[in-house]
């Protein structure tokens, strides 16, 4: 069975006065139906720009998608016109944003905003749309959905607003849901509630979910597969258990090492240096300047994505050598 969504070699650049920012460079991944894929990385790694690229919402200027394909079924979304994309957005691919405070329009009631997103894509009467909206509010576990329907966003807490955002995203039963840092602005107990909800809805709807986050803890709880990004590129991809049990890329290892864990007294293992600028990229691996395992080759040559076993991908010369040393098949 072919995957639900196939991203091949996606490249998005921002053309700024200071120079060309290579926000996303040759990114490829597949998303199956009924799967949660986490895109993980720190600020400036290109994860949010990836989401905007998939949605066809890259701000232009300064941004432009300069190459690659995004295949949803047999259509390449990058070849569609803006009008055709509008039919896809919210209908087949929906998105939930980070800021529940600013992503809802303050002058309309939450119910009306959900009704609006139903009516955009469905030929139904206003009354049917209203019924659907109440259903959706109930679905995202908002207590007393009929009562909340007429509330304005400012009357709701951050967690409730994020539920409304999720209800709007689910209005048209999308195949793919992109959640960009959906719980970053929320308190930890509310985060637990929202993540729990996302997990359940994913099962109920059988959607493919792309979860974009900087928080590895969130990933462990909800993702099936993980793509780790650094400086616009995918550096590692693996099933979630493998990423945490045996990370291959030195960056993934560093990220895990720098997380404080209960019961461990010692100093945190820090990754030295700073996150690189995406304008003056060095010729080799962009992680090389911060990498303890960097070799001369790493500073000259960009490592390709090597497939390891049947489900893992890593872009690192040192990791390839290590894996080959362990007698595993490496396919570059």
């Amino acid at each position: 069975m072919s995957p639900l969504l196939q991203v091949c070699d996606l490249t998005t650049h921002l053309f700024t006065v200071e120079g060309v920012v290579k926000a996303v460079e040759g990114l490829s991944f597949d998303l199956d139906a009924d799967e949660t894929l986490a895109l993980v990385g720190e600020s400036g790694c290109g994860k949010s720009m990836t989401a905007l690229s998939l949605m066809g919402l890259v701000p232009d200027p300064p941004g432009r998608i300069v190459g690659g394909q995004v295949l949803l079924g047999d259509r390449d979304l990058l070849q569609l016109s803006e009008h055709e994309m509008q039919k896809i957005r919210g209908n087949e691919i929906a998105m939930v944003f980070q800021e529940p405070m600013t992503s809802l329009n303050p002058v309309f009631t939450v119910g009306d905003q959900i009704v609006e997103s139903v009516l955009t894509h469905r030929q139904v009467s206003r009354r049917q749309a209203r019924e659907r909206a109440v259903e959706l509010l109930d679905l995202v576990r908002i207590p007393d959905p009929r009562g909340r329907f007429d509330d304005y966003p400012h009357r709701l807490s951050g967690g409730m607003r994020q539920r409304v955002m999720i209800a709007m995203a689910l209005a048209c039963d999308p195949d793919v849901l992109i959640a960009d840092e959906p719980t970053t602005a929320l308190d930890v107990t509310i985060q637990a509630q929202v993540l729990d909800l996302l997990g359940e809805l994913q099962g109920e709807f059988g959607m493919g979910v792309i979860l974009i986050t900087h928080d590895l803890g969130v990933v462990a709880g909800i993702a099936d597969r993980v793509v780790v990004m650094y400086a616009g590129r995918k550096v590692e991809e693996a099933p979630v258990d493998d990423i945490f049990a045996s990370p291959l890329h030195p960056y993934t290892q560093g990220l895990l090492g720098s997380m404080p864990r209960p019961g461990l007294e010692e100093r945190l293992r820090e990754i030295p240096g700073v996150i690189p600028s995406l304008i003056d990229m060095t010729p080799g691996c962009s992680f090389a300047p911060r990498c303890a395992k960097a070799m001369a080759r790493c500073r000259e040559e960009q490592p390709d994505h090597a497939t390891i076993g049947d489900a893992r991908v890593v872009a690192c010369f040192a990791a390839e050598e290590e894996v080959a040393g362990r007698g595993l098949a490496v396919d570059t």
Partner: protein, 342 residues
């Protein structure tokens, strides 16, 4: 005698929609060289408490005794003589540095304001501070916008320790930083603590960070401390239902544990601090709430050892053991999370 001693501290704000009881009767001691973690969710008053200690927010009631001096009601001029003992590191590495000042100036400013040393001595001190926080010496003439978030936070740290404070209040000091940078700053803070003998009040919403750095931890909920205990003890046996829920909500770094652990998802949302519920403030979300919890506010009671808790349902048994409400043994993750593989 504790270095910092807070008694019955209250800080209320009048807003158009009513009074916000941000800090509502807090008692807290911080010893010399001790790191106290202060955790809680947004609106619990942890940041207000930090600012009230520095009298950046004037408390309405209670006392703050710093190094045996009651600074609660000191006039500005007198207060200035004690300011240097307690300093603050802020959350936002972008908003906390004056964008129009040079890095050298930002770090020297507290020395100048407090009339510290001669011009040359100050310059030497700034150079020493730069080195201490791991910034290159050519930083003096640069501006904050030339630096990344982590390096900006280093500038903020240098400014905070410039006057040789005894206590530094870290208000979400690492929350805005990326994971790999956050580890650098946490390590820097622990190094400085050990080298300079600092005490920290480490305010954070992130339990894993607090667990890493603090000796003792306070849990705040809607303006009140609900539990306070030594770090190991709190993680081994969280007594207050809110502490348990908070800990259970922290994502764990192991997918297997994350899938298996039983979720205690709290009911409801955080109530507004404008209208805190009566009785125990947590009763609206507490899975174990009894009628008593609605009517009567539980005091913060010390139990055996150095653990205090404000919950009616926690009781000391005749045999010395403690009975407390809990879902089940497997509800809270135990300390068996292994480190990342090499």
């Amino acid at each position: 005698m504790a270095l910092l001693s807070i008694r019955d501290l209250m800080a209320h704000f009048e807003t158009p929609r009513g009074t916000v009881y941000a800090v509502d009767g807090v008692n807290l001691d911080i010893g010399s060289g001790e790191t106290v973690g202060l955790v809680g969710e947004s609106g619990c008053g942890k940041s207000t408490l930090g600012k009230a200690i520095l009298r950046l927010i004037e408390p309405n009631f209670g006392s703050i005794v710093l190094d045996s001096v009651d600074i609660t009601h000191l006039k500005r001029r007198q207060l200035a003589r004690h300011r240097h003992k307690v300093q603050m590191i802020f959350q936002d590495p972008y908003a906390s540095l004056n964008p129009r000042a040079t890095v050298g100036r930002i770090i020297e400013e507290p020395l100048m304001v407090n009339g510290w040393g001669s011009d040359r001595e100050r310059k030497e001190r700034v150079a020493w501070l730069l080195e201490k926080v791991g910034l290159p010496t050519d930083s003096l003439k640069r501006h904050p916008h030339e630096y990344s978030g982590g390096q900006r936070q280093r500038i903020g740290i240098a400014r905070a320790i410039a006057l040789n404070p005894k206590i530094v209040i870290c208000d979400e000091a690492v929350s805005a930083l990326d994971v790999s940078i956050r580890a650098q700053i946490i390590n820097l803070l622990t190094d400085l603590r050990d080298e300079l003998g600092l005490s920290y009040l480490f305010i954070s919403h992130d339990l894993s960070v607090v667990e890493h750095i603090a000796d003792r931890v306070c849990v705040m909920y809607l303006g009140k401390i609900v539990e306070i205990a030594e770090r190991e003890r709190l993680w081994a046996m969280p007594l207050h239902p809110y502490t348990q829920i908070l800990m259970a909500a922290v994502p764990v770094l192991d997918p297997k544990i994350a899938r298996e652990r039983k979720k205690i998802i709290p009911r409801d949302e955080l109530p507004s601090p404008l209208n805190p519920p009566g009785g125990c403030r947590f009763h609206t979300r507490c899975p174990y709430a009894q009628p008593k919890c609605r009517d009567e506010e539980p005091p913060l009671r010390p139990l055996q050892g150095r653990q205090s808790v404000a919950c009616h349902l926690v009781t000391e048994q005749a045999d010395g053991s403690i009975a407390y409400p809990t879902m089940a043994a497997e509800a809270a993750p135990k300390n068996d999370v292994r480190g990342a593989p090499a």
